[in-house]
């Protein structure tokens, strides 16, 4: 019986601890709203395809997509870091 209780505790622990965002991802929501009802011209990232987000980061980084501030920010992230952030926001609701 003790084994069963321990297993249940582990299950509960696992369910409550949410995976952490990858490096840098926490900062994005300073400008990119998480909720739908925020008055801003900056687009939301949640739920968009990871491939699209990662390719946009790359386009900002190279300057292929013109921007005010995103080009300066994208240059601070490797392709792997940008991919991880893209996947995090793609999975977010």
């Amino acid at each position: 019986m003790r084994i069963v209780v321990l297993a249940a505790v582990l299950l509960v622990s696992g369910a409550a601890a949410r995976a952490e965002p990858p490096a840098g991802a926490g900062s994005c929501s300073g400008c990119h709203a998480l909720g739908p009802n925020v008055a801003t011209p900056v687009p939301r990232l949640n739920g968009r395809s990871a491939a699209e987000l990662a390719s946009q980061m790359q386009a900002f980084k190279t300057g292929q997509r013109p921007s005010t501030v995103m080009g300066r920010i994208a240059k601070g992230f490797s392709e792997a870091e940008a991919q991880a952030i893209a996947e995090w926001y793609a999975a977010a609701k």
């Binding site: 019986m1 069963v4 209780v5 297993a7 249940a8 505790v9 299950l11 509960v12 622990s13 409550a16 601890a17 949410r18 952490e20 965002p21 490096a23 840098g24 926490g26 900062s27 994005c28 929501s29 300073g30 400008c31 990119h32 709203a33 998480l34 909720g35 009802n37 925020v38 008055a39 801003t40 011209p41 900056v42 005010t68 501030v69 300066r72 920010i73 994208a74 240059k75 601070g76 992230f77 870091e81």
Partner: protein, 423 residues
């Protein structure tokens, strides 16, 4: 355990049981406790991020004011372009998220017993303490400038009544009167803030008091976004704004409230309206927690934001020495989220991950003229350091449409960050 329960029934009942009953952190029987002191951008963000990452953790937010008044965009209030109420936020939604809000000032921190003492004699126990006190004015930092003088020569560097006082003085200013601003040496809250404010005051003077001007007396020879500001001033406010650098005698060494005079090494400037932005230090709660060093600010570990002086105490926001990161609301919010993740990891016995942080600061030179600085930071040799090749300021000589776009982004940023922190 009652007989007759099947394993499945037992599991189901455990699943429905109170999470806190079973899912305590490995090191303790009870749920972990995190206390946050300070309900500004840093503290409120940290409280919410801890709770979101692990709802089992008991989070208390200690704040003496029931209403938070945001500094970003408050220069628009001073320029007569925005209401102070648009800057104000309450704590109801944070409270509704399961965070205990304690409206009281902290009076002491017992690092051994891990307790925060509060006004009224109560106290709060913590496993990890997050201190986010913002800045305090160094009332011993500028001869002649006292708390009483600030009600005559406002600093307006904490938003609220001081903001409105400066606004009223500008409204009462006679056309032709000189507004004098003094700017301290680094570091201080919001490095481009004085220059944004001077711009928006000049914007008001140009429209409503055209014979007046603003004079900026600066303790520095260079400042944030300098070329962009100066380019814009030349275009927009050639007759209404003048900047006096340190090397031109700009450093204010004392003020005389009786004659409303700012005194520099080379001269005296009598002001019709005086905005004295004084030297600053980490807010008082950081001192209570033993987290302040001889600079007046708080050294921190750049991975966890744990104080280098006080164990199990973390510091975020303007009070920190954060390497290349400026003292901004964006930085405070970004730091709070990194710190919260580290605190949750440490409480669970996990090693915190190496973070990366972003800062973006917009300044308005006019309501439709925005400029920005951005940076990406990571820990290098124990210091938050600019990632090479990233960051920087808006381009010089950009078309006005781009300045207008950045002005719109500034407003959007404010709406976004305040929704995340207080909404």
């Amino acid at each position: 355990m009652a007989r007759g329960f099947s394993r499945r029934q037992l599991l189901a009942s455990l699943g429905a049981a109170s999470v806190t009953q079973f899912a305590a952190p490995a090191s303790a029987q009870a749920a972990a406790r995190v206390v946050v002191i300070g309900g500004g951008f840093a503290g409120a963000s940290a409280a919410r991020a801890v709770k979101a990452a692990d709802p089992r953790i008991l989070v208390s937010l200690v704040e003496s004011n029931r209403t938070f008044t945001a500094c970003p965009l408050s220069n628009l209030v001073i320029g007569g372009l925005r209401a102070l109420s648009d800057q104000q936020f309450g704590y109801d939604k944070i409270s509704a998220g399961g965070i205990e809000i304690v409206f009281a000032g902290a009076t002491g921190v017992d690092l051994e017993a891990r307790r925060v003492a509060l006004e009224g004699g109560t106290s709060l126990a913590y496993d990890r303490l997050i201190v986010a006190p913002g800045i305090d004015i160094r009332w011993d930092g500028l001869p002649g400038y006292t708390e009483a003088v600030a009600s005559k020569m406002p600093h307006a560097w904490k938003a609220g009544e001081q903001t409105l006082l400066l606004r009223r003085q500008l409204e009462a200013l006679e056309d032709g009167g000189v507004v004098v601003m003094s700017v301290p040496a680094n570091p201080f809250r919001c490095p481009p803030g004085p220059y944004e404010r001077a711009s928006l005051i000049a914007h008001y003077l140009k429209a409503r008091k055209p014979k007046s001007k603003i004079l900026i007396l600066d303790a520095k020879d260079s400042f944030s976004k300098q070329r962009l500001f100066q380019e814009a001033w030349k275009e927009l406010y050639p007759d209404h704004l003048e900047w006096v650098a340190l090397s031109k005698g700009g450093r204010v060494t004392s003020v005389d409230a009786a004659t409303q005079t700012l005194i520099t090494e080379f001269g005296e400037y009598k002001a019709a309206v005086a905005n004295v932005i004084p030297p600053q230090k980490a807010g008082r709660a950081a001192e209570l927690a033993g987290a302040v060093d001889q600079t007046g600010w708080c050294p921190i570990d750049p991975v966890t934001f744990e104080s280098k002086k006080s164990p199990k105490v973390h510091v975020v926001g303007d009070a920190t020495i954060a390497g290349g990161m400026p003292k901004s609301a964006f930085s405070a919010n970004a730091q709070a989220k990194v710190c919260a993740a580290a605190v949750v990891d440490l409480l669970a016995g996990r090693a915190p991950a190496r973070p990366k942080l972003i800062n973006t600061c917009y300044s308005l030179v006019a309501p439709d003229y925005g400029i920005s600085v951005a940076g990406v930071y990571e820990p290098v040799n124990g210091v938050l350091t600019d990632v090479p090749g990233a960051g920087g300021v808006s381009p010089i000589e950009a078309p006005r449409a781009e300045r207008a776009e950045e002005a719109a982004f500034a407003q959007g940023w404010f709406n976004t960050i305040t929704a995340e922190v207080f909404g």
